[in-house]
């Protein structure tokens, strides 16, 4: 992919690649390798030094704390080597700050995607590609889970293998796919939608991306840890995870890196959205995707430190003998769940709200209508944000917490259905009297609306305490989260990827393959997950490698459907890769949309806009005669379609 900004290329030309000894010291993969080793040795050195000072014998011992030292130092070495800290280190050490030549900005060849790059568009693509890499691993783990569950008894793996599969499946899908995939799409789109040349902190943006593969590799490599991979579920409940395999420490540490990435990105979004809006882009003129990422980022910065704390607590309990959750030393087991869910319930909205934003964009454009009740749509996001912090204990109705907490938590939980309902009804009303185009992104958006209704309604069941007491920790919950996170979050990611594919790559995807992908996924998704409601209410608990024979038929049916679901993803990858290379060239605005990202070339110029646009109206004024969202480049706008590529 090349960028089309000939005017810039002259003075943004890349420097000649370093030669000789400089190849070892220039930021990049070579330096990343030796600096990783160096920092690894540093970590080991610190541990040995402390043991020697304290007079311990032997000075070297293979203890959990040693491994934690590596899991901390090695990634720092990698980040330093690849160049994520270069500018700040130069600055802090008092070197003259280097002239900003933008050599780390924008991509001129595929190699630039494997470097520290400060261009939000490159980072967006890096994010999306990385998340789909881990999505494949997480998906294969789900296939292994279903293979084991196809029949009662143990066939494919043993209990340790099975617990590892479902734990890492959920972990990768949540921390390495859904959350960062949204961050990636928003990274690409939000600055464009705001009329900004980039994010507010491009170097921080690059750093937050490079933290992500570190977290992912930590989760995956945990399988190869002596003793076995993480096997306590993605919730990693204390005290089980403190006694379980050593792989759980890799989980604890991986969450720290993924969480740090999340927090940095969210701060970046907040500052970008607050300070980098183009002239005239008031809050009430922002596209709903921007609103969605604004509220999501607020959730992330407020909530994520809590999961970081919860993972530190269980890790410290194990590696340095603290007793947060050790009842024999006055620990409080339920404390873990309160802290964990104080993040992990808002996390459900972190995994939902950006998707709401994508769906608002797609439905408005594809139905050629203004969003119905725009302000209420934005306000309902804020309502979800506020209510989202007051419902965490609905994950704990049967946990043994004080029983009087259950009714208030039930009421807030049920109330969250109101703003969510507003969003669903408003999308439906947006379709009314529209001119609906059944393009692939629209199919995913409509699929999302219908599936999310099911996921939301099963959430009402779980919100009502008496029903939750029966269904909690059963397959009903598994069905519910997959309707929300697969039928919800995944469908919206798909809608977003197809919708912005022309913008990101400059080429159109194959529409027929896209529709085929949607329909195969839609059908096999429902065949896989709908029956789970039934076996759950009938009595099948979750997280079991073996089950009562009465559930055998349904489980076989579900497993076969899930393999079809897994296979349907292959159509997507073929479509994406093939179209990126050979697809029909896309114009700047193939959907004839009003938001700003479509008013520039596909892909956009290096700094997005030749001149900062002037925003003059709302972003969804379809059907309003003469309405404009923004004025760009004066009279030159008509040239957009003919920009040479």
């Amino acid at each position: 992919m090349t960028h089309t900004a000939p005017a810039h290329d002259a003075h943004h030309a890349t420097k000649p690649p370093p030669t000789g000894f400089r190849r070892l010291t220039a930021p990049g993969w070579i330096r990343a390798i030796w600096m990783s080793a160096l920092f690894w040795a540093l970590g080991a050195g610190i541990v040995c030094l402390l043991r020697w000072v304290a007079g311990w014998d032997p000075v070297w011992d293979w203890l959990p704390i040693t491994v934690v030292a590596f899991l901390t130092m090695l990634p720092l070495g990698f980040l330093s080597g690849i160049g994520a800290f270069d500018y700040w280190v130069y600055y802090a050490l008092g070197y003259p700050s280097r002239e900003e030549d933008h050599s780390g900005h924008g991509a001129r060849s595929w190699r630039d995607y494997f470097r520290v790059n400060t261009d939000h568009k490159v980072i967006g693509v890096q994010y999306v590609a990385t998340t789909f890499f881990f999505f494949v691993i997480g998906g294969l783990l789900a296939m292994l889970v279903r293979a084991e569950l196809a029949q009662p008894g143990l066939q494919v793996t043993d209990a340790q293998g099975y617990n590892g599969f479902f734990t890492v499946h959920a972990t990768l899908m949540i921390f390495l796919f859904i959350i960062p995939a949204f961050a990636g799409l928003a990274n690409y789109v939000v600055p464009l939608m705001l009329g900004a040349p980039d994010m507010a902190f491009p170097r921080l943006n690059a750093l937050s991306f490079w933290l992500l593969p570190i977290a992912g590799l930590m989760f995956v490599s945990a399988f190869f840890v002596p003793g076995g991979g993480p096997n306590s579920g993605w919730t990693c409940y204390a005290p089980l995870c403190e006694h379980n395999t050593f792989g759980n420490v890799f989980f604890n540490m991986g969450v720290q890196w993924a969480g740090a990435s999340s927090i940095m990105t969210a701060l970046n979004f907040l500052v970008t959205i607050i300070t980098m809006r183009a002239p005239g882009m008031t809050f009430w003129r922002m596209p709903l995707l921007v609103w969605a990422n604004f509220t999501t980022s607020l959730l992330v910065v407020l909530a994520t430190p809590f999961i970081a704390a919860s993972q530190f607590f269980v890790m410290f309990d194990r590696v340095i003998g603290m007793d947060f959750f050790n009842i024999h030393e006055g620990g409080y087991v339920l404390g873990y769940q309160h802290i964990f869910w104080f993040y992990s319930h808002p996390a459900v909205y972190i995994m939902m709200l950006p998707g709401f934003g994508i769906i608002s964009e797609v439905i408005s454009v594809m139905a050629r209508k203004p969003i119905f009740g725009y302000r209420l749509m934005a306000l309902s996001l804020l309502a979800i944000l506020v209510l989202g912090f007051s419902v965490w204990a609905h994950h704990m109705f049967i946990s043994g917490m004080a029983s009087y907490l259950r009714v208030p938590m039930m009421i807030t939980t049920l109330l969250i259905a109101v703003p969510t309902g507003i969003k669903i009804f408003s999308w439906l009303a947006t379709l009314w009297e529209g001119r609906i185009h059944f393009t692939t992104p629209m199919l995913w958006a409509l699929g999302f609306v219908s599936m999310f209704v099911i996921g939301g309604l099963s959430g009402i069941y779980l919100g009502a305490v008496p029903i939750d007491i029966h269904t909690s920790d059963t397959y009903f919950v598994v069905a519910h989260i997959h309707y929300v996170l697969f039928g919800g979050a995944f469908f919206t990611i798909m809608a977003g990827v197809y919708y912005w594919f022309p913008k990101m790559t400059g080429r159109m995807y194959d529409e027929r393959l896209g529709r085929l992908h949607f329909w195969t996924t839609f059908v096999s998704f429902n065949l896989t997950f709908f029956p789970m409601h039934l076996i759950g209410t009938q009595g099948m608990p979750r997280r079991v490698s073996d089950y009562a024979p009465e559930f055998a038929n349904w489980n076989l049916f579900i497993s076969i459907s899930s393999f079809a679901l897994g296979a349907s993803i292959l159509i997507f990858f073929y479509n994406m890769i093939h179209s990126w290379r050979y697809g029909e060239l896309a114009s700047g605005n193939p959907w004839n949309a009003m938001t700003l990202e479509w008013q520039v070339t596909s892909p956009p110029p290096l700094f997005n806009f030749d001149e900062i646009p002037q925003v003059v109206g709302n972003p969804y004024e379809y059907g309003v005669p003469g309405a404009r969202h923004a004025l760009l480049n004066g009279a030159r706008q008509h040239e957009l379609e003919e920009v040479p590529r």
Binding site: K369, L376, I398, A464, P466, H470, T537, Y622
Partner: protein
């Protein structure tokens, strides 16, 4: 508005309503209930189902109708737009207020049922439940602390469970009773159940508790009051009368501590697969290079001291709570010559 739109919408809603009603009624969504609490929870379930089915039918109908009626012509290449409708305050108030009223109704009904389900009433039967990896054991403190690994309850009497967890979180669930409660180390938790049907039901652990989680099962047998009293009297006599040690008592200890959930051992009739097969105990002792009896005793109180190849450490909890006499009996039971009992 187009002409006849209301009638068409109603038609779509009726079709969607019939489909969702069939979906709600045809499969057996809930297991056959066997407790008063389950009956009440079932009522909430159907109350919520009626509301949710109605909402789903309306949403599905409006969606289907819109997609059918408002599709763009094939040759329209994003050039023409729909009607510029920006909102409608009245309708937005309606779809905020109506769901608000509905969820409030669900909340109130749920709170009432919750209050009724937790009520203990007079003279409940108290059961002390101990959960550990990966076994349930039950005690009847009102009946000479009678201990059992199969739970037997009289029908139509309020039962108050008190839970203790020895190691990690577990969760007590009998699907037919609908009631469920986590057992938490360091915290006393409790649950009320009033069985109202006789029969045999599974006790299921629903909170991930380690490698043997899937096999942490037991059985509850709900009996007629008379039969239950006979059983209590008989079991209490047996427990009180025995007193002796030896392999016979060891068999009971093996059962009470749930060893069979994880271990296969033919004399006990167990076939657990989580831990090593105890029929091969002498071979393991040979591998460990210890005399069988010493090896067995040591493995019970300190399982991590020697872990058989192919099995992960830290799975079996140390059974330090057994008295010396109990330990002697258990070791005798495990090491007695095959075919002797």
């Amino acid at each position: 508005m187009r002409r006849g739109v209301v009638w068409q919408l109603l038609l779509f809603t009726a079709i969607a309503g019939v489909i969702t009603t069939l979906m709600a009624l045809y499969p057996h969504w809930l297991p056959a209930t066997a407790s008063e609490q389950a009956d009440r929870i079932g009522d909430v379930f159907w109350f919520v189902t009626i509301i949710c089915a109605a909402i789903f039918a309306i949403v599905a109908a409006v969606l289907a109708y819109s997609l059918w009626t408002f599709r763009a012509p094939r040759d329209d290449n994003f050039e023409t737009d729909g009607a510029p409708i920006h909102g409608h305050t009245g309708i937005e108030i309606v779809w905020t207020a109506v769901p608000f009223a509905l969820v409030t109704a669900i909340g109130i009904y749920s709170a009432i049922v919750l209050g009724k389900n937790d009520k203990v009433g007079e003279n409940p039967l108290r059961i002390d439940v101990t959960a550990q990896q990966f076994a349930w054991s039950f005690k009847y403190p009102q009946h000479q602390n009678l201990a059992a690994t199969t739970l037997r309850l009289p029908v139509n009497r309020v039962v108050r469970f008190h839970f203790t967890a020895l190691d990690v979180l577990h969760s007590f669930w009998v699907p037919e009773f609908s009631q469920k409660q986590d057992t938490v180390p360091g915290i006393d938790t409790w649950l009320t159940v009033t069985p109202n049907k006789t029969g045999k039901f599974p006790v299921v652990c629903t909170e991930l508790c380690g490698l043997g989680h899937a096999v942490m099962r037991s059985t509850v047998i709900v009996m007629e009051e008379r039969a239950w009293r006979r059983w209590v009297a008989g079991a209490a006599r047996q427990a009180g009368g025995g007193g002796g040690g030896g392999a016979e008592a060891g068999k009971a200890i093996f059962a009470q501590n749930g060893c069979g959930a994880c271990h296969t051992y033919e004399p006990a009739g167990s076939n657990g697969k989580v831990g090593p097969d105890l029929d091969k105990l002498s071979e393991f002792a040979e591998d460990a290079g210890q005399p069988v009896e010493e090896f067995t005793r040591n493995s019970i109180v300190d399982p991590n001291d020697y872990v058989e190849k192919g099995f992960p450490p830290n799975v079996m909890p140390p059974f330090e709570s057994l008295s010396d006499q109990q330990l002697d009996s258990l070791v005798a039971f495990l090491t007695e010559p095959k075919g002797a009992s």
